[in-house]
């Protein structure tokens, strides 16, 4: 068998192998491929909602139009929030949610977990809603978020509490 014969067979074998692999190879090549399996199937809910009797309540940083559950703040900037209350009732209702800011301080880099969140601000506003009305209430907390501190905005009504918004000064 001379060299040209071997070369011809090798070239056609290579071409047909690549062509066959293109058709036959499963789309998911490796079960541990981070690109394939680290994807989150369900997106996080945009702007978590506290659903109460006849109303829905959510919160965002005042002036930030996005509905992301996390928001970045500048160090030293006081936290201003917007409470968005939506009536689902057929009559006028008063909503009295508890709004709390829970701060998690930096801990030693050796620590297993962040510190226990401590309450740094709370307010319990009354929001009166006509049937079907949507109202936005600005909450001036006058609370400043230092560098490397994370703050969670907790909304609660009765025994139901949600972590509605996360705030930090250094988002990736």
């Amino acid at each position: 068998m001379n060299g040209s014969i071997v070369r011809t067979i090798a070239v056609w074998a290579g071409v047909s192998c690549v062509a066959s692999l293109t058709v036959l190879m499963p789309k998911r090549l490796t079960a541990t491929d981070p690109v394939q399996v680290s994807a989150i199937a369900q997106p996080e809910r945009a702007r978590p909602v506290l659903a109460g009797e006849g109303f829905e309540l959510s919160v965002r940083v005042a002036g930030q139009a996005t509905d992301q559950p996390f928001a970045a703040l500048k160090p030293g900037e006081p936290i201003r929030l917007e409470l968005i209350a939506v009536s689902k009732a057929s009559e006028t209702i008063d909503v009295k949610p508890l709004v709390r800011l829970m701060s998690t301080s930096p801990v030693s880099r050796m620590s297993r977990t962040p510190s226990t969140p401590t309450e740094v601000y709370r307010t319990e506003p009354t929001i009166t809603l006509a049937p079907g009305e949507t109202r936005t209430l600005v909450v001036e907390t006058n609370t400043v978020i230092p560098q490397d501190v994370q703050v969670t905005v907790a909304l609660s009504q009765g025994s139901q509490e949600i972590w509605a918004l996360g705030l930090a000064t250094a988002l990736r």
Partner: protein, 367 residues
């Protein structure tokens, strides 16, 4: 003729390649979360970063006692970290295997993932990593922790696979025995209206993730499960009890930040866990535990690793603390009464960092 021969050879080669790839990466059958208290330790995972001096005494005492048939996957940022650990540990009988990841990380393995295994020992172990790590946005090492389940999987040539859960949790929020998985109360708060609509939906998703019946605790201390409860097999749950420690506390010479928390409110949370376990048909055994007023620093004796070598040989690697000898002894007696051989592990250097032995060591496989 030559072209046809080449084409046939090429097609055969492609079929062989596809077959090899398919066999190696067969779909993973659903598994069940690995129990804390069933079977002998076979593979465990620890993490180490240079200068994390506090964890070295714990690793040294624990790893030196592990038998020859245990493999320890040591996850480190780089070879230098691994070598530093090996030098500090000295000789071991167990097998150490380095997994070098090339990025920042912490030294706490427990919270990074939970492991599930099918009944077929040839199937890969499945790791479920949380949706994200708390604090990752401003804590680079924690951001690195988010990748570790996938780093581990990618180092095992298909023996371990990893996927990211839709849920927010720490691995330490879940604690499994043979039949059930207990989940801390605040797991609901982490997910409600963020990933799930309701408590029932969370339980259903946890059930799918763990392959076991899920018991979501109604009320529990604001910490990981392994800080206040531990499964001991045969439907027995060891639950922390601050009141038992309160009696002994005057004889203890150990400091806690802010002092011990023997308040009624804290006691009620521990008691609530015990009550719920009893309602689920568990025999509950209480053990002294000292939570501190910072809510995170515990002198705990349930943060253990158990090793059921045989049906009769049960070993517990038990955290102990210098200066707390009366507590250490009272706790050891509880485990001895349960039939365990107690092997103390000095965790004096780590408890101030909110975790101990169980928090540092994750279990990948039991046999």
């Amino acid at each position: 003729m030559l072209k046809l021969t080449g084409i046939v050879i090429g097609v055969v080669m492609s079929l062989v390649i596809v077959e090899l790839a398919t066999v190696r990466h067969a779909p993973v059958r659903p598994g069940r979360m690995i129990s804390e208290c069933d079977g002998a330790l076979a593979e465990v995972v620890i993490q180490y970063v240079s200068d994390a001096d506090a964890v070295l005494p714990v690793y040294r005492e624990f790893l030196r006692q592990l038998p020859t048939d245990v493999t320890v996957h040591v996850m480190c940022p780089a070879q230098a970290d691994y070598e530093e650990l090996c030098t500090a540990i000295g000789e071991t009988r167990c097998v150490l295997r380095s997994v070098l990841v090339g990025h920042e990380m912490t030294s706490w393995s427990r919270d990074r993932w939970i492991a599930t295994a099918s009944d077929d020992p040839n199937d890969p172990i499945m790791l479920a990593a949380p949706r994200s790590e708390a604090g990752a946005s401003s804590w680079p090492a924690r951001a690195g922790d988010e990748k570790l389940a996938f780093d581990l999987a990618n180092s095992t040539n298909g023996a371990v696979v990893a996927r990211r859960s839709d849920l927010f949790f720490d691995g330490g929020d879940l604690l499994a025995d043979r039949d059930n998985v207990f989940v801390v109360a605040h797991a609901l708060r982490k997910n409600l209206q963020r990933t799930v609509e309701s408590r029932d939906e969370l339980i259903a998703m946890l059930n799918r993730m763990t392959g076991k019946r899920v018991i979501l605790l109604d009320e529990s201390p604001e910490h990981h499960a392994g800080m206040f409860m531990m499964a001991a097999g045969e439907r027995t749950m060891v639950v922390g009890d601050p009141s038992l420690a309160h009696e002994i506390w005057p004889r203890v010479m150990t400091e806690l930040p802010g002092g011990p928390d023997f308040s009624d409110a804290t006691q009620r949370r521990f008691d609530a866990v015990a009550s719920q376990c009893r309602r689920e048909g568990y025999r509950v055994v209480r053990i002294p535990t000292v939570p501190s007023t910072d809510g995170k620093t515990y002198l705990t004796y349930v943060n253990v690793i158990t090793d059921h070598r045989t049906a009769s040989a049960h070993i517990v690697y038990l955290p102990v603390y210098r200066g707390a000898e009366p507590l250490n002894e009272a706790a050891a007696q509880v485990w001895r009464d349960l039939g365990y051989e107690v092997r103390p592990i000095d965790c004096t250097s780590t408890y101030r960092f909110f975790g101990n032995l169980h928090c540092l060591v994750n279990v990948l496989r039991r046999t």
